[in-house]
Structure formats: C-alpha cells, structure tokens
C-alpha cells in the first residue's frame, strides 16, 4: 500500500485533491492510504508554499491547487 499525504489546512481544494486521488487509485485497483497533514510546521517542513501539496513516499510531487487528472494518473503509472 502506498501512503499519500495531502498537505493543506483543510480547505475545499484539499478535499477535492484527496477525492480525485482516491478515485484514480480505485479505478486502477491500487491500494492507497491517504493521510492529511494540516500542521503548518509540518507543511512548511516539506518546503511547500501553496496548498494543497501532495507527498508520495516522502517526495513532494505537487503543490498549489487541485492537480489535474492527467498528473494524478501519471503518479500511479
């Protein structure tokens, strides 16, 4: 199972990003665990300046706004 962290203060875009990632993962039958990181110190520790940010296996793959569907599909291929 891959752990995916969503960095963000819980705004609407963070929820949308999480939903999109869950949908794409479910379509491909990939098991994922989503963890929401809302602590500002932790978010800043990843060097992310605009939320939502997405971290897969401790690597930042996206920051700022809801990622595009194509981008999310790219993470799982």
């Amino acid at each position: 199972m891959r752990t995916i962290k969503i960095l963000g203060s819980g705004c609407a875009n963070c929820r949308r990003a999480a939903d999109l990632i869950e949908t794409v993962a479910a379509e491909r039958g990939i098991a994922i665990g989503i963890e929401k990181v809302t602590d500002f110190a932790a978010i800043a520790g990843y060097g992310v300046m605009s939320t939502p940010g997405v971290v897969i296996d401790d690597t930042v793959v996206h920051a700022g706004g809801v990622p595009s569907r194509e981008a999310v599909e790219g993470w799982f291929d």
């Binding site: 491909r28 060097g47 300046m49 605009s50 930042v60 700022g64 595009s68």
Partner: protein
Amino acid sequence: MSSIVHRPIGTPTRLGIVAVSVILWWLAYGHLTGFADALLALTGLDRGTHLGEALHFFLYDTPKVLLLLTGVVFVMGVIQTYFAPERTRALLSGHRAGVGNVLAASLGVVTPFCSCSAVPLFIGFLSAGIPLGITLSFLIAAPMVNEVALVLLFGLFGWRVAALYLVLGLAVAIVAGLVIGRLGMERHLEDWVQAILNGQKAQWQGDTMDTSQRIAAGTSHVRTIVGKVWPYVLVGIGLGALIHGYVPEDFLATFMGRDVWWAVPAATLLGVPMYTNAAGIIPVVQALIGKGAALGTVLAFMMSVIALSAPEMLILRKALKPPLIATFVGVVASGILLVGTLFNLIL
C-alpha cells in the same frame, strides 16, 4: 480491468477554441447597448420611467461585467501559470528593501494566492532569505489588489477608479512593508517558524507547463472564480440599478462626503472586523458611491475590509507573535487612512 483513458487535448485544438471564444466575446461586448435596448423593449417599459431606467441599467451592466470578468479572469489564470509562488520567490530573493518591496507588491497582483496558504508561503519566502518587510509587502498586496476587484471597479466606475485603486493599493503594500522592515521585528516570529528558518530542508521547485496546460489553467481559473463571484455581481448590479433609478443623489454626502473629516478614519475602522472578498464588497461600494459618499472614503473602506480581516489575522497569528500582528494591523490601517484622506483632499 478496464480504466477510462483521458486523452489530453492538444495545443492546436485549445488555441482554436480560444480564438473562437475571443471573437464571440468581442462580438457580444460590442452589442451590449443593443442587447439591453432589445430586452427592455420586450418588457414594454420605457427608459423615461424609474423602473425602466433601473431595469435598463441592470440589463446593460450584468452582461458587461460578466463578460469583462470572464475575459480578465481567463487572462489572469494563464498569466498566473508563469508566476507560481516558487518562481515569485526566486524573483524576489536577493533584492534589498525599496526595490524589493515594489517588486513584491507588484508580484502580489499576478501570483496566485489563497489566504489558506498564507502561512506556508510566508515561511517559504523567509526561508529563501527574503526579508520580513518585503514578504509582508507581498502578503498585503496579494489579497487586496486582485483582478476581480479591478474588473468590478473598472466595469462599474470606469478606468480612473480602477487605476487609482491599483496604484494606491500597491502604495499601501509597499510603504507598510518598508516601515515594518525598518522596525526589525524578526524576533516576533513564532519560535517554530524561527526553528524552521534555521534548519531548512530541500525546496519544492514547482512544475513546468506547456501552452495547452496554461490554457487549461486559465479555463479552470474562470470556472472557479466566476463560478464563485457571480451571485455577488448580480446583487451588486441589482442594488446599483435600484440606486441609479430611484435614490436621489447626495443622500449620503452629509455623512460620508469629502468635507467630513472623520469619515475616512471611521470607514477604515469599520472595515477591519468585517470580512468579505473583493466581489462581496462591491455591492456596498456601489451603494455608498451612488448615494454621494466621497471616493477616498469608500476606497479606504474597501481596502480595509479586504486587506485587514479577522480570519486572515487568525491564520497569520500561527506564525507571528502578537506584537508583530498588532504592528501589521496598525501600519496597514494607517496607510489606508492616509491614502483615503489624501484622495479626498486631492480629488
């Protein structure tokens, strides 16, 4: 297992769609008066009556402002893809106070900004060695001087008011940042912020985009922004139409006119606890100006509502200690006060 394949739309297709949209936009924008006249004729009302004049104002201004908003928000959505926060930070680092503050305030206009990422952005800037004063110039300008406020002011009050708002908003952000920078308040950052600044990890450098993705970003910006603000726009124009048709001019002049010395301080103070976005404040602004309030007073109120809000202060409070928050509010409020007063004196 079957999965849906989403084929990305190619750049030529997207550019074609944009070209057709621009032509349609231009045609529609050129026929606003005819459109309003034709619709009014359908109702059988005459522009000589109060109701007829109010309705004509509404039928003319609604499509006008919505068209302007869609066009400008799309263009801004594309421009913003060139100014991701990471890039803005790179542009700002290495500049000293003065030039740095001017640059920071200007970049605040074109960099995508949401107050929910104010704290990560704040820390990202500081950790790149950008001074506190310059960072704050950015954080003041970003919410206050934005494309929605400018479009609405342009659409409803003309380019002069929009240009003044742009220039004065930038001036407040630049001067407030300079002043706070001079005060040397870095020690009033919260301890955890100082800890991060002293031991920074690797930075996320941002994505690269092709033309097709930039156009897609513009479209999605339109969907988000216009989708959110259109009800405010309708209320604002509806209110404006009623004022235009019914309320006698100079109704408010005695309370909020140019000669009332306490009007600007009162408007600024009143605006601090209030919170709404640029689109939400426009109906109020329109009502005030329509009834004879002085422009400087109204602009001070508008800036105060947008730039100094309780929710944003609560977010920033997580990174700033109370003395720095208080200084921030005090300096920005003084700047707004000065701008409003000067404006009333000059105009």
